[in-house]
Every structure is written in C-alpha cells, then in structure tokens.
C-alpha cells in the first residue's frame, strides 16, 4: 500500500472520529427533545407535523435537485473534459465563482436575476413565478449542487484514458455509444461521488434558499398547489432553514433536534452509498 493511501486512510478515520463525536454530542444533548418523557411522539420535534413536512421537503428536493443536476451536469462534464472550446474557460470561471462565493451571495445574485433581470421578463412571459415559491428551492439548490457536482464529474471523466472511447469508436460505436457504454461505466465511482456531493450540497443548503425563497411555514395552506399538498411539502421549510427559524425564535432545543435529524439523514445517505458503491464495484 502506498504512503499516500495510508495517509488518506488516516485522514478518513480522523474525519469519521470527529463526525461520531459531534453526532454523539448532539444526540446526548438532545435526548429530551427527541425522546421526551411521554414517548417520542409526546412533545418533542418528532411529534410536530411541520418537522416531518420539513424532512420530507428536504429529502425530496435534494433528491430531485441531485437528479436534475446529474441529467444536466454529467453530459456537460463529459463535453468539458473532452474538447477544449472557447466557452469552457468562461464556464470554468463562472463555476469557480459559484463555489467560492458564500451561498448567501449566490442567493442574492439569484434574487437580482429573477426579480429585476431578464429572467424576470422570462417568468412574466411564461406566466410562472419562481422566486419566493416552493419550486424556487429547487432553482437555488440546483445552482449550487450543479457547480459542485460538475467539478466531481469532470474530474472523473478527465481521469479516464481518452483512448478508451477512441477504441470503442474504432470497434463501431458512435460517440454517444462510446460515452454511454464505455466512458460512463468506467467513470462510475466518480459519477456516484459527484451525485452524493450534489445531494448533500442540496440537503445542507441554507443561505441561498433563505434569500431566494424566504420561509413558508407561516403561509396559509391555500397558497400551495395541489401537488405540494399531495407530497406533504406545503407550509414547510427545508430542514436547514427550519432549524435556523427555530433557533431565531428562541426554541434552541427544537433547533438542535432538527440539526441532529439533518446530520443523521446525511450520514445515512453517505452510508447507503458506500454500501452500494462497494457492491457495484465488486470489491
């Protein structure tokens, strides 16, 4: 085993240790909130319908965002890694800026774009409104998740030997078949890593969503569409936003409980993917 991989493992273990400590502390300090004396559903956050709606909204929107990001980002990452075109540099700078800026600044930029810019006219022309609406959450999450996922997907394709695809083409595959049947499966670990990153980024997103969408919990149910009610995401905020609202209103324990729930959901996702990723690669 190489020195790098020994160190890599140590760093991984250190991170895992820190995570376990943090989660245990959160858990220990939230026992009352999560499991109050009268049973888990008596008075803690688990008994609150808005908590479950928030969790539901977070998981659904993060999943939808990650899938849309993958659908847009994987082909784009492949194109970026295969051909050096003039607009690639521009795309690079833009993506770098989105990653480097605080998420709240990105949210503010989105507000400006959708409230005043050309996207405002586009919304008016299409007769839809994205800003300060539930679907707006997807837009804000998507911008950030896509920027992060794209980096991972691009790195995955750049690490592939370009001769893999050339060989596939000499055997009779067209460029799409070479991508779909050879490059994509060969890049699978990196693709999966990017998907998880995009999902986690969307799940944890707070600043951009708060600025772009504000909160929904105080709005009447009638303000939400049929689909939102059917999905049980009406009058709900993302868990990360709900947590902030709880703390802002002085309900620190409920906020901590939500933070714990968010951490556990993310950890469960990473764990499931690890489990699955191991099986996919057959190791």
């Amino acid at each position: 085993m190489s020195v790098e991989s020994v160190w890599f493992r140590r760093v991984l273990w250190a991170q895992l240790g820190a995570l376990v400590l943090a989660v245990s502390w959160l858990f220990a300090s939230n026992l009352d909130t999560l499991f109050p004396a009268g049973g888990p559903f008596a008075g803690g956050i688990l008994s609150r319908a808005d908590f479950w709606r928030s969790l539901n909204l977070s998981v659904l929107s993060a999943t939808a965002t990650a899938l849309v990001a993958a659908a847009l980002g994987i082909p784009a990452a492949w194109a970026l890694s295969r051909r050096a075109l003039a607009w690639h540099r521009g795309a690079d700078i833009l993506l770098g800026a989105i990653l480097a800026l605080p998420a709240s600044s990105v949210g503010l930029a989105l507000v400006l774009l959708f409230q005043y810019g050309p996207l405002d006219w586009l919304q008016a022309w299409l007769g839809v409104r994205v800003i300060y609406t539930l679907p707006g959450i997807l837009v804000a999450q998507l911008v950030l998740a896509l920027a992060l996922g794209l980096q991972a997907w691009r790195a995955a394709f750049e690490a592939l030997d370009p001769r893999l695809e050339l060989t596939a083409r000499t055997l009779g595959a067209n460029s799409f078949q070479a991508f779909w049947r050879v490059a994509l499966p060969a890049a699978r670990p990196g693709i999966l890593a990017g998907l998880v990153l995009a999902w986690l980024r969307a799940m944890a997103e707070f600043g951009a969503v708060l600025l772009f969408c504000s909160t929904f919990r105080e709005l009447p149910a009638s303000r939400f569409g049929e689909l939102a009610r059917w999905l049980h995401v009406d009058r709900a905020d993302l868990l990360a936003v709900a947590m902030w609202v709880e703390i802002e209103f002085g309900r620190v324990e409920a906020g901590m409980g939500m933070a714990f729930a968010l951490a556990m959901t993310c950890a469960a996702c990473v764990y499931l993917v690890r489990l699955n990723g191991g099986r996919i690669r057959g190791h």
Partner: protein, 356 residues
C-alpha cells in the same frame, strides 16, 4: 484476394496544435507487417490518430481499401486499434470486451457468441474469459486487446507501441507472438514504436520518422545498410557517420583527411559505415583492396553479442565504433589497425554527419 492497399496515405499533412505532420506518403500492403519507427515526439501517434480519423488532413488524402477516407468518422473506417497500455474496458470481463465490437455492430447473439469463442480459442485465453482487465498480466492484456480489435475483421490492425508497457524479457516473447499471429491471419498490421530491436524483429518493411516526416521507407535490410541520411544511420544503431570533404567515383576524403576507397555517386555529403563491417587487423596483416586505418582504443564496452570498441583515429580525430568478438584481448590505450572494405562504405546523399 484483395490486391489494393488496405491503407494508403498520399502526401498527408496534418496540424495538431503546434505540431505538423508533413507530406507523409505511406502504403500498407495486403498481408504486410509495417513498422513506423521514430524517436518519442516525432509524430507517430499523430500519424495513427490521423488514420483513425481524429485529425483531418490539411493536405493530401487517405485511401482505405481504395476509397477516400475524407469525412469518415472513426467508426466508419474499419481499422482495428490496439492503443498503448491496451485501454481494455475496465468494467467489462474479457468476454464482454471481445463481444463489444460485434454487439455494437448489431451481429446476432449467435454470431457474437461463436466469434468470441473463436477468438478465445485463437489467442489461448479461454481460461480468462470471466476475468476483469484489472486481474490480467501485461501479456494477457495484449492478447485480449488483439482479440477485441480482431473481432470485427478490420481491414488493417493499428498498433500503438503495444510492447512498451512490458518488461524486456517478455517483450521479445510477445513480439514473436504478434508476428506469428499476423502470419497466421495473413492480415496487414501497422505498428508504431521507438525501439529498433522491436522494429527489426517484426517488420516486413519499416518507415523511419523524424520531426513529422517520413525519412525512409524500406525493408529492414535496406534501412540498416542503405540509410538515406545521418539521422537514419544513427537511429538504426550506426554511430559511424562522417562528413566528407571531397568525393570521386572511387574514393572519398573525410573531413580529417582520411581517404577511404569506395565507389558511389560523387555528390554525396557523408558516409556511413556499420560497426560490424569494420575488421580489426593483426599487426602485419594487409588486406587487399581495403583502406587500412590506425588509431588508439578509447573505450571497450561489453555488450551481449560483441565488444563495442571505440577507436580515436590518429592522425585525425574522428571517433570510430567497431564490434569485436568476445574473447579478443583489447583494452583502452591500445594502438590498433582496422580495415574498411569498399563495399562497407555507404555514401549518404541526404543530410550528413552534422545532423544528430
């Protein structure tokens, strides 16, 4: 029997970034093993990629099976490709790798199966069928890559340094395997490499490349014995390349005044004399018709097949390399005499000794 060239390049020039491939004309004959030999960075890979359809020529044309290849995509060229390091599809087993081409071309399931079985048999890799490429040795990977490329009956197989990833002991063995396979299939192979031994082992004809140009195309013997210029001579293992001061039909005078008896055209600018054709003389020996030169041994290096002796000519200061059988008593500092027979002197019309 197809008689037209499966691959023919006519004055092809290509520009890739700052690199230029210049007026390359090359003809792969049916059933021939052609090796393109050149130092790293001379454009061998660009040449292959151009044939495969990655770079459109800015001049000249490529004929595949007699038809102009302009505008044809890599998948429409019918050329088998064995890349450096083989580029086996890592997520597929050996069997899936072999089946890839036939499947993508829409062969029936039965045709695919029988072709894969045939290839597993031909290459002796049936026992590896269910393995993934990560669990194969270098030689096994090479066979799988051969099988994958041959599966769809390409008109020509294109091999990019297929032996360079192997250690030297396996290289010669696998070169033999490649040659045997090509003979059995009677296929035409176009192989690029930078290794002279490999080229000599495999080639029916070889093409020597330098800085984006083909400088000589011929049989290995022609290239070794009658190089077109000093670069080819040196690159094919002949360090004895000397610029000449004057030449007449039956002798040449080197820059340091050495006179060599030989025949050839008088417009030559340099001569090349292979080390194995220089004979070390006993003290009183006077061979008839040959030029006899004297010098001092500068160094003696033991090689596998002979001693490599460097002699500093005196008078004059040209450095000559001789190959002397093992067992001969010779050491640095010895004064020696050696004979240059007229037929060993090859006059170079092209770029001479100054080129390196």
């Amino acid at each position: 029997m197809v008689t037209e060239s499966p691959v023919r390049m006519e004055g092809v020039s290509v520009e890739v970034g700052a690199f230029r491939l210049r007026e390359v004309s090359l003809d792969v004959r049916p059933g021939e093993y052609l090796v393109v030999l050149g130092p790293t960075g001379c454009g061998k890979t660009v040449l292959l990629e151009t044939l495969l359809g990655l770079h459109p020529p800015v001049e000249g044309r490529i004929l595949l099976g007699g038809r102009d290849a302009a505008g044809r995509l890599p998948e429409e060229r019918d050329l088998g490709y064995i890349p450096q390091d083989y580029a086996l599809f890592p997520t597929m087993t050996v069997r899936r790798n072999l089946a890839f081409g036939p499947e993508i071309r829409g062969w029936s399931r039965q045709q695919v199966c029988s072709r894969v079985e045939e290839l597993l048999e031909l290459l002796g890799i049936a026992h590896l069928a269910e393995r993934h490429p990560a669990h194969l040795s270098g030689g096994e990977k090479q066979r799988v890559a051969m099988g994958r490329a041959l599966a769809v009956h390409p008109r020509t197989l294109i091999l990019d340094e297929p032996l360079s990833a192997l250690d030297s002991s396996r290289r010669s063995e696998l070169a033999g395997e490649l040659r045997g396979l090509q003979r059995r299939l009677e296929g035409s192979f176009l192989h690029v490499c930078h290794d002279l031994d490999e080229a000599l082992h495999l080639a029916d004809r070889m093409a020597v490349m330098r800085e984006g140009r083909l400088v000589q195309v011929g049989t290995p013997e022609e290239v070794l014995m009658r190089p077109t210029d000093g670069f080819v001579a040196r690159f094919t293992g002949n360090p004895n390349v000397f610029t000449i001061r004057s030449a007449s039909p039956n002798q040449v005078v080197l820059e340091d005044g050495t006179v060599l008896v030989c025949s050839g055209p008088s417009h030559a600018s340099a001569v090349a004399i292979r080390p194995e054709n220089l004979t070390l003389l006993a003290s009183e020996e006077e061979p008839e018709g040959a030029s006899v030169l004297e010098g001092r041994v500068k160094s003696v290096v033991r090689r596998a097949l002979a001693l490599e002796v460097q002699v500093l000519r005196s008078p004059g200061d040209t450095r000559w390399t001789l190959l002397v059988p093992h067992g001969r008593r010779i050491a640095a500092g010895d004064r020696v005499r050696f004979a240059v027979r007229p037929e060993a002197v090859w006059r170079l019309a092209g770029e001479g000794a100054s080129a390196s």
